[in-house]
């Protein structure tokens, strides 16, 4: 285990090692959903929640089941199944007990299973050899960082709605260029904390 303070990991994964801006994870839903602040905030919440729980779940599954059995190479399949099963479970629970939450969050949950950021966090945490608390901090931090980026992007996209954009760049093109500029801005944080 590497000794890094979980708090350092938490802040690093929000600002300096942001999932979207430095690891390119979760781009698909980032581009597709970032057109409205309210929806992107809901999606961000859902992603943060799922990230926080699946990082812990996958940590436990990996270290308590896969490692003792020597089945580490199966981790891709197992992680995907854990994530998909968990998302399904959460969807059923909130549909049954928290109806209002279901209408604001529910539709995004199936989208999350295929969000690269979720699987990415689980894989990164194994490669970097985090312990349980570090993994949890990493999961929550990554989720918040992702939310921050998508909400900021939704705000910017709203502002440029009336702007004159070259025809070929409309939609995804301009979003990627803005993301580039945003990533550039986030590089300014890189002196504060650093992991890896």
């Amino acid at each position: 285990m590497i000794e890094i303070n979980p708090l350092v990991i938490f802040f690093a994964s929000i600002f300096t090692n942001n999932m979207i801006l430095s690891n390119f994870l979760g781009m698909c839903s980032f581009i597709a959903v970032s057109s409205e602040i309210k929806t992107s905030l809901s999606l961000g919440q859902a992603v943060t929640f799922v990230l926080a729980t699946t990082s812990v779940l996958n940590y436990l599954v990996y270290h308590l089941i896969l490692v003792p059995l020597g089945l580490e190479y199966l981790r891709f399949i197992v992680f995907i199944i854990v994530i998909a099963a968990f998302v399904q479970l959460v969807e059923m629970i909130i549909e049954r007990y928290f109806e209002s939450l279901y209408y604001s969050l529910g539709i995004f949950l199936p989208l999350i299973t295929v969000n690269c950021a979720i699987l990415g966090v689980s894989l990164f945490m194994i490669i970097r050899d985090y312990d349980l608390i570090q993994s949890f901090a990493f999961g929550v931090g990554s989720g918040l960082g992702w939310t921050l980026a998508i909400v900021a992007m939704a705000g910017i996209r709203k502002k440029i709605m009336g702007a004159k954009i070259p025809k070929g760049l409309e939609g995804a093109g301009i979003t990627l260029i803005i993301t580039g500029i945003m990533a550039l801005a986030f590089l300014g944080f890189s002196g504060i904390v650093q992991i890896q």
């Binding site: 698909c28 581009i31 199966l74 399949i77 998909a84 690269c116 760049l169 093109g173 550039l184």
Partner: protein, 206 residues
């Protein structure tokens, strides 16, 4: 034969997964700072897309409709695991350099997208070609981005120094923002080079 040609064209430019469908950029922009890395990533993706499309198509008659997503995911994961073990065994340094991004091929939307949109309704052979060609189209874009990034960022191509000592490396190019700018420019350029024939296919962005 005609159908094969149509699929080949679709994969390489007409429906190119990256600049036309905006799919699968999530897991792979990170490897485009070196040509060698993106080449390996591209070939790996070609392998996984081709064979998972083939398998999905082979068992499409037996797969119950409502659990097909799960079945597809499992098929894709199986091929990705093969790829991962292969890279670890024969190219350990490459496997280290690509890190978690090999595993992230599973969530690459291209593969799932092709399985769902093409392999589910077509014969195995043509699905295989379709998957392969989508992989080729993807690799071409990846290599184009990596070409510019490595040349400007390191002054080299495939690790061989091209630009002389007088060249000052553009550090920006090898950092994440460089990738975003480059892919944006590729999308822009491609929309000028291959203008859309039928506007708004819709539903392509996932």
């Amino acid at each position: 034969m005609k159908e094969v040609m149509r699929v080949v064209k679709a994969g390489i430019y007409k429906d190119n997964p990256v600049f036309r469908q905006i799919l699968g950029i999530c897991s792979s922009l990170a490897v485009t700072n070196l040509l060698t890395n993106s080449f390996v990533m591209g070939v790996g993706l070609m392998f996984v897309t081709a064979f998972s499309s083939f398998t999905v198509s082979l068992i499409r008659v037996f797969t119950p409709k409502h659990i097909r997503m799960m079945v597809q995911t499992l098929i894709i994961s199986a091929y990705v695991i093969m790829l991962d073990i292969f890279l670890k065994a024969y190219f350990p340094s490459m496997s280290k350099a690509l890190g978690p991004y090999v595993g992230l091929i599973i969530t690459n939307c291209i593969i799932m997208g092709r399985a769902e949109a093409f392999a589910q309704n077509n014969k195995p052979f043509i699905s295989f070609i379709d998957g392969l060609m989508m992989g080729v189209g993807y690799t071409i874009v990846l290599m184009a981005v990596a070409f510019v990034r490595e040349l400007l960022g390191f002054g080299s191509l495939f690790g061989i120094q091209i630009l002389g000592d007088g060249w000052v490396n553009w550090t920006l190019m090898i950092m994440p923002p460089g990738a975003f700018f480059m892919i944006g420019i590729v999308i822009w350029a491609s929309s000028r080079l291959f203008p859309k024939e039928d506007q708004e296919k819709g539903g392509a962005k996932v």
